[in-house]
Symmetry: C2
Subunit: 374 residues, 2 copies
């Protein structure tokens, strides 16, 4: 790890899977893993006040470097007390490098060995981002964990292009490591390699040699099948050092998290709980509740019996009314519920690992998650 | 008062004004007056969870009969546990009668002595509302305080039309009183009469004879000057019984509340704190802070020093960023701040009345509220 500010303690590995429980300590507090990070793209998890975010069980928040660098700008965030003072979130924060957004959201992305240039999706302004600049921006943002800039290609892509982007990702990771200055910020490298298990394993092994304090699996959740994603994890994870946290970026559905934990992943982020929450889709242990459906008009039940969240103090009928009436409180409450659902799921996973029954726990939960709830 | 479920206790009248402090007890708890009700048009104060609403200091919430009757319908609200169960607000709730919305929002409003017919602004469906039907709907909604149906005319209007609508409002109040059945719901009459002090006084005196448990002043905040409004209050309030609550509907700015309290008003509602909050305008003791202004880009100060609300845990710079980035949290936080501002102002007013220094308190606060804050 980078200095004494960070510590990774592995507590237990499940007897029937690769699932593991651990504590990752940062300058802004510990993260019990496996953990899920809500996405605070622009320095806010959409619709949640700090109290609401804390009440979901959130330990660590993610923020997007690409979005914040464009608006309000990293120097404004720094002037307002870095990401912690800016957002008011006093717990750990992870920032991505912007790589994923540049290749998915920005316009005219052009990659050279030196850097990537692109135009802002907001106003068309031209930006340049190099591995060193991505480090500098994230150091200005002041996150606890910074991600190295990676070269992301769409899937499927030509094998030559995937190989080129993967090799560049390793070279850029080395440059990022050399550029890092802050002892209170840990840098995670990102494994690329498309859907090719051998290339993924090779990339992971090369990055492992560079001795990063943490590793991520990137470039997934871009349209591949769940089976393809699990295969990539099976090829990648064994190449990563056991004594460092492993983060699967941008994934995913509850069943994806459970499957990835089985394969040795410790950390996740995904927009799904908040995006689906804004669209009136609630996660429950028995599948998705689509609140706009007429069947819920006079339904007095909460979304989930026993859920302690603010939404579950209301009836499904009331929540449905909020969406049909176009009231902000609908998206707010179902986002809160979905994030609480994810945090409770991860808490249960941690307990199952500690009690050496994770494999059975995950199988049972995945089975129940099968279809839509009624 | 209607039965033992309601009680109005007058505590003190200011020595240098008509301002008075009192407690109005309802089946869902007491309301310390003067009091401000946030507007929960569709059964939710826009953007606030129950915990957030309670934290503002809210005692009593208002909901709009017109909106709820159209969507989701009074019988759906009743099936979901009446307004208290539906919204989850366990404190006192007041519903208006729909009169104001019918004459301002609905299409093709046609008044006969029997009833008013109109088309829904949502889907154009035809509705009929009589004084008796307004009572029945509000009894189904289960509010603590129900308003009688009144005939509202725009200002300015022909004197003959104002007279006709005012006389009808008195006749409709009598019909509403005869139609009321619930002992756990208090019915407030509404004084109309345009901007004519004599007509207002006459209407108030006629309604006072009907012995309602509370009285409202309606038909204001529709474009008249503050001076005209205060004149109407000066003509009206002395005609109302001293032992009943007095409610000024739809008003207003902080200075309007302070002026109206001076003239003997006990209860208010207004969309201003939430509507302005959604538009990045924050109320402070030194005037309005317009958060979109560039001057706040790197402003580390909270909206108001010493304010305990969730917004004031953030900098003005962060709040500005939320609005510029189109984040829901901006409207949420500034709505919370503005409602907290109103509740704190009313709490201070109650204390000033109790300590016999209201006139000086109001004069000083109105002076400070002069301009825009910087």
């Amino acid at each position: 790890m980078t200095g004494a500010a960070f510590r990774f303690e592995l507590h237990h590995t499940d007897r029937a899977s690769r699932a593991r429980s651990s504590t990752f300590t940062t300058p802004h507090g510990p993260v019990e893993m496996p953990a899920f990070m809500p996405v605070g793209t622009q320095g806010t998890v959409k619709g949640l006040t700090l109290d609401a975010l804390r009440a979901t069980g959130c330990q660590m928040m993610l923020a997007n470097t690409y979005h914040l660098a464009l608006r309000p700008g990293a120097e404004v965030v720094a002037a307002l007390g870095d990401l912690h003072g800016f957002s008011g979130w006093s717990g750990p924060i992870l920032t991505d490098s912007g790589g994923f957004q540049i290749f998915s959201l920005a316009h005219n992305a052009q990659v050279t060995e030196e850097q990537v240039t692109f135009r802002s999706h907001i106003d068309g302004n031209l930006f340049e981002l190099s591995p060193e600049r991505a480090v500098a921006i994230q150091e200005a943002l002041g996150s606890d964990v910074a991600m190295v800039l990676d070269h992301v290609v769409p899937l499927p892509s030509d094998a030559g292009l995937v190989r080129e982007a993967t090799d560049r990702t390793v070279r850029w990771a080395r440059r990022a490591k050399e550029a890092a200055r802050r002892a209170d910020q840990a840098q995670f490298a990102i494994v690329q390699g498309g859907l090719d298990p051998a290339l993924r394993a090779e990339c992971a092994a090369q990055l492992a040699e560079l001795d990063f304090p943490g590793y991520a699996v990137g470039g997934l959740s871009v349209g591949e099948t769940p089976a393809e994603m699990y295969q990539v994890l099976e090829a990648t994870v064994p190449q990563l050092p056991a004594d460092r946290p492993r983060y699967l970026m941008g994934v995913g559905r509850p069943q994806d998290l459970l499957e990835a934990i089985s394969r040795g992943i410790d950390l996740f982020d995904c927009v799904l709980p908040t995006r689906n929450g804004r669209n009136a889709q609630a996660f429950t242990d028995h599948g998705t509740v689509r609140l706009r459906n007429l069947q819920f008009e006079r339904d007095l039940r909460p979304l989930e019996e026993g859920c302690p969240c603010a939404a579950c103090r209301h009836s499904r009928g009331y929540l449905r009314h909020l969406f049909l009436a176009g009231e902000m409180l609908g998206p707010i409450l179902v986002s809160i519920h979905n994030l609480t659902y994810y945090q409770r799921l991860l808490e249960q996973a941690r307990r199952a690992i500690a009690e050496d029954r994770y494999a059975a726990f995950a199988a049972e939960r995945i089975k129940r998650l099968g279809g839509d709830a009624c």
